[in-house]
């Protein structure tokens, strides 16, 4: 049924709160008919100009000169711009990046100049006509080497950069953040340990691979204002960062975000949109479209930074973990304006979801001449858990304890003391662990499908808090229309994770109207939409949800107060159910459509009360405290944690090394599943994206050059690679300040997959292959080298 018919009567809809329902997605029909607008679909008419970006072919070099004259002379080229007149810095947590490089390029692909032309073809041809003279510098391609004091310096001006007060760069080095945990006494604790293991993991870079590449159209008008249409997770952050970098008022930068064809973090913050704006400023009044090719998508926006993790873990004879030492060297890439916080988040999460009394962690964000590391689903958690959850298994086996039992003993429960010193809130983690173990048939082996196959099972836990500044806020408004329907204004972006649908569910539930009476005021437009920090961190259901609920409550109060006045009743006796205001006392009823805009008449034609109903609401956490820079201890490091478990059963082919994930189980505690179907959709999608990064994905970087920048050689999971079966288990231990008890779930289903698979392979083969991707080749050669096969 395509056309929604509005029938504001009780009979047409059941009186159940839509929260907890599998409400159908409100964007589904548009997307299924091809009507949904993505940024490249917007029509601009024949005046649209096109841009292409000249990029550095070197990983690290000084720019000696740029000659744009030949490009400017090509017929059809309207403008060529370099960083010469744009000294401003961009950055979310650390301002370390120019819009176009000025004196130096720091990674292959770094933007050096922008070309605007009448067609994309002409702009592309002009790329070859820009002459740049470089002086190549020695590059840094390994974070451990980059962290050394004598490594070539990539950001000599690090000490001058504007930086958030919870990030600690080390000027004069390549370390842009050093986060420390010093808790208890690890040196003493090692002596008490029955078993200690030490491992090093190299986790490669991967990329988000949204099916929609980054796209931006910018128009700079002669009054100094800029409009930017972009495929973005963060309209307001883009407005803010770009305005700051250009010295403009935030009011003069307008960002419009349509549907996003996949983000996963790659479209958070600012990457290619800033060059698009500067290019548009060269041709005032005309829109300029910039789109990335798939190859550029792979390495010129954000990537998930590589990690070298050194982990030491020890337990006593009863299996209680006593101490942990971590050194994380994050391969942050050329600019770490966003990635510095991954360093921090992994630091304050560095025990994994376990209670560990003695912890020493050093988490370093290291500049390298590699593609730019930024937010990727999990924000450091997948990379970090990849090592920790394998160590947990190995340590358990050292003391001959079942890894699930080992986790039962150590995993966080309500009241557990966390790595930052505070206590764990109520959590369903133990329940997730037990349910995942049971669902995968832990302890039972199943028959392999042939004589040259081996089967195994593996499990891993995770935790993650939204990584964001302590004062990241949300706001929303709710207005009623003539027919009683709601228009909900919000600033969160629909990336496919169901933002609009759950917002509508929560608004409907709070206000008391049927679910399909709610519309979302989209696209998000910073000119009209209420502020939202960013669509990241799995924070929207919780934070934006609270704002939507507060706005709905405000609207609800206005309506009830109005009708109570009209009926001369106590507002406490009134309610709104299925779009009708009802009184439990007098049993009066009035449809919302009779009051939403026009108010109510007073007795005897003596005037009116009320008017258009517009509710407003906001939410911002107020209780996050700082952490001591030397110890990482603090009263409240984060807003909350979502926890969960994954278990997989794999089959390994001894003749080819191929690992097949037969089935997967995911059990997560998201407090309250506002829309269980969409929650399960995240669990399925996250598990498969996790499988893809575990088995197939990894950047092949050689001296800063990406050797596999296309789908041909950067393989992602296809329909033939998804498991036969995924069981998604919802555990609900309510979040005290979450709307209807909800907290986030978007990122978490991807976090434990790599170690779950590694543990399963080890179970299958008796040989541990610890660094992803667990490609057929890697597994086969490992089996060969271990003498398992010949």
């Amino acid at each position: 049924m395509m056309v929604k018919s509005i029938e504001p009567t009780l009979a047409s809809h059941p009186s159940i709160s839509p929260v907890g329902d599998n409400a159908p997605r409100i964007d589904a029909t548009q997307k299924l008919t091809g009507a949904a607008t993505f940024t490249d679909d917007i029509q601009f008419g024949p005046g649209l100009l096109h841009g292409r970006v000249v990029r550095s072919p070197h990983a690290h070099a000084l720019i000696k000169s740029i000659d744009t004259s030949k490009a400017e002379a090509l017929p059809g080229v309207r403008a060529v711009v370099t960083g010469k007149n744009y000294p401003g810095y961009l950055g979310l947590y650390l301002q370390d990046r120019h819009i176009f490089c000025r004196d130096r390029v720091r990674y292959v692909g770094d933007p050096v100049a922008g070309i605007v032309a009448t067609t994309e073809d002409i702009a592309e041809q002009a790329l070859d006509l820009i002459d740049v003279e470089y002086e190549v510098l020695e590059g840094v391609f390994d974070p451990v080497i980059g962290a050394k004091p004598d490594a070539p310096l990539i950001h000599p001006d690090l000490g001058d950069y504007v930086v958030a007060n919870f990030i600690f760069p080390k000027p004069g080095t390549n370390i842009s953040n050093h986060f420390k945990i010093r808790k208890g006494d690890t040196e003493a604790a090692w002596k008490e340990c029955t078993a200690v293991i030490e491992r090093t993991y190299r986790i490669p870079h991967v990329q988000h691979v949204p099916i929609e590449p980054h796209t931006a159209i910018a128009r700079a008008d002669q009054d100094g204002t800029v409009t930017l249409w972009s495929s973005t997770q963060s309209p307001f952050a883009q407005r803010n960062l770009i305005a700051k970098a250009l010295g403009k008022s935030q009011s003069d930068v307008r960002v419009i975000g349509h549907y996003v064809g996949g983000g996963f973090g790659s479209k958070a913050g600012v990457t290619m949109e800033a060059p698009a704006v500067v290019m548009a400023m060269q041709v005032e009044g005309q829109p300029v479209k910039l789109r990335l090719t798939r190859e550029e998508e792979f390495y010129t926006t954000f990537v998930r930074q590589g990690l070298v993790a050194e982990i030491k873990l020890g337990c006593d004879s009863t299996g209680k973990i006593l101490a942990m030492e971590n050194k994380f060297y994050w391969d942050g890439g050329a600019y770490t304006e966003y990635g510095v916080n991954v360093t921090r988040a992994s630091g304050y999460s560095s025990t994994g979801p376990y209670e560990v009394p003695n912890v020493k962690t050093d988490s370093y964000c290291v500049y390298t001449n590699h593609p730019v590391g930024g937010p990727f689903r999990g924000f450091g958690m997948p990379e970090m858990h990849a090592g920790i959850e394998q160590c947990i298994d190995e340590l358990a086996l050292e003391i001959e304890m079942d890894p699930v039992q080992f986790r039962r003993i150590n995993c966080l429960k309500e009241g557990s003391i966390l790595v930052t010193g505070s206590r764990m809130h109520p959590t369903g983690l133990p329940e997730c662990l037990d349910k995942a173990a049971e669902a995968i048939g832990w302890g039972k082996k199943s028959e392999p499908s042939g004589p040259n196959k081996r089967r195994g099972k593996g499990l891993a836990l995770m935790w993650k808090a939204p990584a964001m500044p302590p004062n990241a806020g949300s706001s929303a408004w709710v207005e009623l229309r003539e027919d009683g329907t709601l228009n909900v204004g919000l600033g969160g972006q629909e990336l496919g994770q169901g933002t609009f649908t759950v917002a509508a569910q929560m608004a409907a539930a709070t206000l008391g109207v049927p679910f399909d009476w709610v519309r979302i005021a989209s696209p998000v437009d910073t000119k009209y939409s209420p502020y939202e920090w960013q669509t990241v961190a799995s924070r929207l259901t919780w934070s934006m949800g609270n704002a939507v609920v507060n706005a709905s409550k405000d609207a609800r109060k206005q309506i009830i107060d109005l009708v109570a006045e009209s009926w001369e009743e106590d507002p406490a006796d009134l309610d709104i159910v299925n779009g009708e205001v009802i009184s439990y006392k007098s049993e009066e009823a009035m449809s919302l459509k009779d009051i939403a805009i026009y108010g109510l008449p007073k007795e005897g034609d003596s005037g009116w009360i009320g008017g258009p109903v517009v509710g407003r609401g906001r939410f911002m956490p107020t209780y996050v405290t700082g952490l001591d820079p030397e110890t990482g201890q603090g009263e409240r490091a984060v807003v909350h944690y979502t926890t969960g478990a994954q278990a997989v059963e794999v089959e390994v082919d001894l003749e080819t090394g191929r690992v097949e994930v037969l089935r997967g189980v995911a059990a997560f505690d998201m407090g309250k599943a506002i829309n269980p179907d969409q929650v399960r959709a995240q669990m399925e999608g996250g598990l498969v994206q996790g499988i893809s990064t575990a088995l197939f994905e990894g950047f092949k970087l050689e001296d800063g050059h990406l050797r596999n920048p296309s789908f041909v050689d950067y393989r992602i999971a296809t329909s033939s690679d998804a498991p036969d079966q995924i069981e998604a288990i919802i555990v609900e231990v309510p979040q005290d300040d979450g709307p209807f008890g909800a907290r986030g779930i978007g990122e978490h289903p991807m976090v434990p997959t790599i170690p779950a698979i590694a543990n399963a392979i080890a179970d299958a083969l008796g040989v541990r292959i610890s660094e992803p991707p667990f490609s057929s080749e890697k597994v086969y050669l490992a089996m060969l080298d271990e003498g398992l096969i010949s």
């Binding site: 292409r52 292959v108 692909g109 994309e120 073809d121 592309e124 789109r291 090719t293 798939r294 190859e295 550029e296 792979f298 390495y299 003749e655 080819t656 090394g657 097949e660 088995l695 197939f696 092949k700 050059h705 990406l706 050797r707 596999n708 920048p709 296309s710 041909v712 050689d713 393989r715 999971a717 296809t718 033939s720 690679d721 490609s775 057929s776 080749e777 086969y780 050669l781 060969l784």
Partner: protein, 296 residues
């Protein structure tokens, strides 16, 4: 790294009315003109900036390029313009050349197989070409139209190196003809990709076997290896072993070992030489076991 353009670079599309016209155009514009059929390899190379031809000459519709025909004496003629899906679906191919259908089915994905062609796969001359092995073991003959008219070229001598064939400017591959296969043959194509389906071949093994009273084993085998040498490779030593000894597991192992030793894979972004060699051995063994089992 990415010199890939957003789309195809500018070129002129030429649709000649006859083979003679096409061939003349290609000769007159040698070095800046190229024939194409399905285009799937051509367009990718043009977009990547590897090929920079000014003219792309569409030869799909010309004489002899669009037919798929079977003759009980001459065998199967696959026109250069016949999409792989058409070939796969053909009852004659399924009945008489099942190995070719099997191999074609592993190429890329369904959408691409509606454009990609076997002759195009051959002319692209990637050592990893999936259908080339089947065409080799079916003893295919290329039918070419050139400046001096039609000629035939056995597939065995068609390849000169990676991406290089005996075709010269002005040549248009019209079709491949596969003679009637040996009676009672069975075949298997095993392809190893990095993920389950849709990948290129990291290693590909084609095996065809048929009863032959003149051999010690009573069977003769033809083998072809993909992605482990500069061109598609026929491991002659392995074929010899299979003809000269009884067909038992030891012989199959020996043949698999010989196939491995005949191959000379390289280390590249897709796989290491070491792994590929082992996979030649293992997949050859598997392919032979499968064919032997079908023959008995």
């Amino acid at each position: 790294m990415a010199d890939a353009h957003p789309g195809l670079p500018e070129f002129d599309y030429i649709k000649p009315a006859s083979l003679a016209e096409a061939s003349k155009f290609l000769v007159d514009h040698a070095g800046e003109a190229r024939p194409f059929m399905g285009g799937t390899d051509t367009f990718v190379r043009m977009r990547d900036g590897v090929w920079k031809d000014r003219y792309l000459v569409d030869v799909k519709h010309l004489d002899g390029t669009s037919e798929l025909g079977f003759d009980s004496k001459l065998g199967l003629t696959v026109g250069a313009g016949v999409p792989m899906n058409t070939l796969i679906a053909s009852p004659e191919v399924q009945d008489h050349y099942p190995l070719l259908a099997q191999a074609a089915k592993t190429v890329a994905a369904y959408q691409l197989r509606n454009r990609a062609t076997v002759v195009g796969n051959i002319c692209n001359a990637s050592p990893a070409g999936d259908t080339i092995g089947a065409c080799l073991v079916y003893e295919g003959i290329m039918i070419i139209y050139g400046p001096s008219g039609r000629r035939e070229e056995p597939l065995r001598t068609f390849f000169k190196g990676p991406g290089q064939t005996v075709l010269s400017p002005g040549d248009i591959a019209l079709a491949i003809r596969l003679p009637i296969p040996p009676a009672g043959h069975a075949g298997r194509y095993l392809k190893l990709g990095r993920n389950r389906l849709s990948d290129l071949a990291i290693v590909g093994v084609t095996a065809l076997g048929y009863p032959d009273s003149e051999t010690a084993s009573g069977f003769r085998f033809r083998l072809a290896l993909a992605a482990v040498a500069p061109t598609p490779l026929i491991p002659i030593e392995a074929e010899k072993i299979l003809a000269e000894s009884p067909l038992d597991p030891a012989t199959i192992d020996k043949a698999a070992e010989a196939a491995m030793n005949a191959s000379s894979p390289i280390d590249d972004v897709r796989g290491s030489a070491r792994y590929r060699r082992m996979m030649v051995r293992n997949l050859t063994r598997q392919a032979l076991e499968s064919v032997v089992s079908e023959l008995s």
